[in-house]
Symmetry: C2
Subunit: 701 residues, 2 copies
């Protein structure tokens, strides 16, 4: 697709240009003309001869020169006509600003499909509809109706919400510089994946960011994100997703459904795609600042320099809470610091240069600290004390940043007193925030991406002994009967075909059969009466637990006798001999859940009565790599019990990992599975003792 | 104490005044003189005759007029001398700015104690030492060396960190107005409790706030906070506490110790004291803004008005996450909204007035919404769109605020474009933030205080059947023997004396005694061999479980026989007959932990193997009210299992509540208990089945 043509056009036609002040057609044309864009701009409007002191064209076909980009502002109903005209004129990129498409109901949706078809027919790159346009500051190009063109920088940002675009541009006017700023509207053709891939290849882009209200292709995003992370030059991606509580957590029939609320699905998706998720709009701006102005750190050891002890502690708290380690300064570093600090200062991390620190003391302290190998990154905190030199300290920070190559964030906890210092930081691309906790949080995000870069490997599972055919027969039969769900028995057959261990079960008619069944099982068994007339087996003595194989014959007779006595009318057809599960297993829940548009989630976590209580589950989208699977288990709070703790043995982890891998394979082989619950599988230190006790499978409607 | 004299002095002597620019003595004197303070100011400095164009005194005793307040800036070593001089001159309030006291080691600590003694001797109110002083804007009084005197307002704020004071004053210069702003330094005499009580009585104060790095009297804070909450006029208290991760989580010998990290203790303390805890410095400023400019809401139902859908969703997410409910607008309200909104707008909450909304549409929408009984508070979000009228919309918000009396927070998500609008909001005391999530979080804090106000009751427990004497005998014996901990047996005697149910246990010597013991127990029992030579009883067949009372005689003989066979050398002294606990109980942990300075924490939560995994425990300081205890249980994630869920019966809650009450009583009766662990107590639907299986008690060294 012609994305270069879209974002770097030589000539632009504005279809729907206008001189009515305040109208979109006016604002957009004016924005194109007033910011120094060097290409041609052709206003198109059948009602005018001249606009903005230049010729105005009745239609795009009247323009004799070539046009790269058409910006379309006309009412939705006319859009297909003008888009076709543009296509016929060989225009290869278009922005549809107009609304009235998918967002406005069925009619609009049909219109949007018509528009997509035309764009495809003419091989056009299409942005929108229902968007603000885009800004490309390095070209002086404001192809949008947003007021402000930011400075040219290295952040490519795009947003599904136009209003959020204008808010973000205004809020970050002095702090963030953008390579591109794009409003993607309805994403008819160009969505997150396309733009991420395109901007990742642009050498002027160092950081990628986006705001989304919903994605439609989770698997592609995972691939895209991982590919971008794996590139020689790191280009971190930051996302903000709204709808964390209100968006469709559908009430479903199973645990997996209830737990895999769509917000958690997005968290899993971003994690798998190696995309940093900001928790709110303000944090998005902090993360964009931090990433665009810093390299990635070597590791996660943070040093803090502060002229206010209290703020140093607040920052250290936030750092540790967010997974950073406070660097242990070397003896040498501490000694050097002692020589330059007053007696009351602290040469331990956080390093307190005290309230009377001038710029030179900050400079000396920072120089010593960043030279320490134990330090991966630096947070410099300054509060406005009587003698504080904001400008000088800012210059010292700039100097250190240039010299050290380690990530640095400045926390300037003041307003008016710091104006000149802040200007220096900004001009020199020092990431700056106002509050200590925000600075620590942003550095933690940097460290997360650095850690991801180190473990980029993706090991595929090789699975044996899978009888896909057998599972297919069962599932197809259920589909043919139009049933929404498999019976328990059917579910067990499917899962056994994929290697899941169920309790051994035999139907027996007499004590001889019972004995030989128990001998095959060769462990303690349960006996359960089989009768079409008995619902609650226990009530009539129809269940016996923990029977040794040698006692089974006697037990069978006793079972029959006591049921006959208590339910004389019932027809007795024999008994089930069921293996008793090993005692003391840890109850694990496993599951699948299809998230419309995103893919199929695999769930693993603590099962049993605590499922709802602690929701201690981890989610990942299929297909799973070994790394995904191990990461899932590590994410669980219950992980120490799985891996063993305080001298207590854990469970056989590899067995659980392979079960999750088989579940992922099952989901891939049968995309018609909408939901699957295994609750519980009993897990043990010994692989051979694992047993699935209960499983349910529901198919897509 | 003479706090009025301290904070509203008629005359002030500055001991250590100076004309050396940049010195504290200079800055402080200048601050006193330049802000319009109407009282007298007397510089005191033996080296000068005149200072700041007025007479300078050699010592305070040379001043012939009366002096209310002495501000002391001289080196620490001279402070006792000048303080005594001040006392002798009848000065009843002093601020010691100087450092070099408790914070600087043993010598300084002795000096601080000397200073306290002098202040007590002369009945002086003493602020500091090691502080910045205070500001009282309504008097034009800046008795500190902070540069800036804020506007007079209704927030009384005090801080343990001086640097945080200056940072906060600078950061909130345009947003927050203070009645008093106090740096409390080492808190030698005046700490949080004294200032909270004093400012709560001041009719100019509406909101209280403080920053602390550590408290020394938890129980008093709980009383103080609750008393202030119960006053006719609500005066919410907001606190920021640092050291959430780094501060002394001491490695201790028990679960209770490990779980009751000091940060969680502070969270419990603030909750019990009904103090809102801000999670970071920025949030502190938001909370102070929100509380000082708003009444408390009736309940927690929030309505949102926005000109940007995306930001509305972000706010709704944050609101629900923080415990607010999104108001369900009445049919009537929705209909009215439909008449004033364009077709594409949303009359559902969040109400989307669309990007082209002018001030009049905001005004109309807000008028309709605040009139709805379903709405307790309003968040108004504005982003800078092309036609947005910042000033007009701000005026509309001011109008609505005056008219409705419901809490309102404005989210103005822009900078430069909103300058004139922001000025209007500020001038009219509208709480304003920049980001939607912050606004929702602050309204949630308001709703929390409103909820606390409704449930101010504190019901004391009346406990029966407590044998304090019996427990005292055991504990005194352990203390006399200088042992740090009680044996298991001793711990069980103490707890049984306080009504805790242990498993019935009998020592028996023959099968006859065994049978009569089992008959007394009259449930299944376990038999355990008693022998000084056998450590692992199970290994030699020395334990039999689940024995029916009728089978006990036979089982006793079998036990003896098999142990004799497997351990022929061992001396056998009989057996224990121990009641078997009911199967299927929920394992609960209960505990006590003394937090130095703060009080004794009571802990309750999920016991068993999941204690460390989920740390699902709740903490409260003794003495517990019934409301505290019920709140604790409600706080647990496992609460639904305790109260019963999905048709499954819960446990007998009242039994658990009374156990916790007894634990609180035990802690009060024996303050020498440093730590107590009950893990587990097995809990059941039937009160009579509860049993403590294991308990440990450690005493203070």
């Amino acid at each position: 697709m012609h994305l270069d043509t879209l974002f770097t056009p030589q000539s632009i036609a504005v279809i729907g240009a206008s001189t009515r002040t305040g109208s979109v057609g006016y604002t957009l044309t004016e924005n194109l003309l007033k910011n120094g864009y060097a290409g041609k701009v052709y206003p198109v409007n059948p009602k005018a001869d001249r606009l903005f002191d230049r010729p105005c064209y009745k239609s795009i076909s009247d323009i004799s020169q070539a046009v790269d980009l058409a910006i379309i502002i006309v009412p939705a109903g006319i859009v297909p006509t003008v888009l076709r005209e543009a296509g016929e004129k060989n225009v290869r990129a278009a922005i549809i600003i107009s609304s009235g498409f998918k967002e406005s109901g069925a009619e609009g949706k049909a219109l949007e499909e018509a528009v997509i078809a035309i764009a495809r027919e003419f091989d056009m790159a299409l942005l929108g509809p229902n968007c603000l346009g885009f800004l490309h500051p390095a070209l002086g190009l404001n192809a949008s109706f947003a007021k402000r063109l930011p400075h040219a920088g290295s952040i490519a940002f795009f947003s599904q919400s136009g209003a959020l675009c204008t808010a973000l541009l205004d809020l970050t006017a002095d702090a963030l510089d953008f390579s591109h700023f794009v409003s993607i509207g309805n994403k008819a053709m160009l969505g997150e994946n396309e733009l991420l891939r395109y901007f990742a290849k642009d050498e002027n882009v160092k950081t990628l960011g986006f705001y989304t209200e919903g994605l439609t292709d989770g698997n592609t995003l995972i691939r895209t994100g991982r590919e971008i992370l794996a590139r020689a030059e790191a280009k971190p991606i930051i996302a903000l997703k709204s709808g964390t509580t209100t968006a469709g957590v559908s009430a479903t029939s199973s645990h997996t459904g209830a737990l895999a609320g769509s917000d958690r699905a997005y968290s899993a998706l971003f994690k798998q795609a190696r995309i940093i998720r900001a928790t709110n709009l303000e944090q998005l701006t902090h993360f964009l600042t931090a990433f665009s102005h810093n390299p990635l750190p070597e590791s996660n050891r943070l040093a803090i320099v502060t002229n206010a002890g209290g703020l140093g502690v607040l920052a250290a708290d936030a750092a540790v809470t967010n997974g950073l380690r406070m660097a242990t300064l070397s003896k040498e570093t501490q000694e050097k610091l002692t020589t330059i600090l007053p007696k009351a200062g602290s040469a331990l991390n956080p390093v307190d240069v005290l309230g009377d620190a001038l710029a030179d003391r900050y400079l000396a302290a920072m120089e010593i600290i960043v030279a320490d190998d134990q330090v991966d990154m630096l947070l410099v905190i300054m509060t406005p004390q009587t003698m504080t030199q904001a400008k000088g300290t800012a210059e010292a920070i700039v100097h250190i940043k240039k010299q050290s190559g380690k990530p640095i964030i400045a926390v300037f906890a003041g307003q008016d007193s710091f104006a000149d210092g802040l200007a220096v930081l900004q001009k020199n691309n020092i990431a700056t925030v106002t509050y200590p906790e925000a600075g620590a949080g942003a550095l933690a995000a940097l460290a997360q991406v650095a850690a991801w870069r180190k473990e980029i490997s993706a090991t595929l599972f090789s699975l044996e002994n899978i009888d896909r055919e057998k599972a297919a027969i069962v599932i197809n039969a259920v589909k043919n009967e139009n049933r929404p769900a498999l019976t328990e028995k059917e579910a067990s057959v499917v899962l056994m075909a994929y290697g899941f261990p169920f309790l051994a079960t035999y139907v027996v008619r007499d004590k001889g059969e019972a004995t030989s069944a128990a001998e095959k099982i060769s462990k303690k068994v349960a006996l359960k009466i089989i009768s079409p007339d008995i619902i609650h087996k226990s009530d009539v003595g129809g269940v016996m637990l923990d029977v040794e194989p040698k006692d089974v014959a006697e037990a069978y007779e006793k079972l029959m006798a006591q049921v006959k006595e208590r339910a004389p009318e019932a027809r007795l057809e024999g008994a089930l001999v069921v293996e008793m599960a090993q005692k003391g297993g840890l109850e694990i829940i496993l599951g699948l859940k299809k998230e419309p548009g995103l893919g199929t989630l695999v769930l693993a976590g603590l099962g049993g009565i605590f499922v709802e209580t602690f929701k201690d589950t981890a989610l990942r989208f299929t297909p799973l790599t070994r790394e995904d699977t191990e990461e899932m288990l590590h994410e669980l709070k219950v992980y120490p019990l799985l891996s063993g703790t305080r001298g207590k043995p854990g469970i056989h982890l590899e067995t659980l990992i392979m079960m999750i891998a088989r579940l992922s394979q099952l989901a891939q082989d049968f995309p018609e599975i909408a939901e699957l619950d295994i609750n519980p599988v009993l897990a043990f230190p010994e692989s051979e003792n694992f047993r699935v006790l209960d499983a349910r499978i529901r198919l897509e409607k």
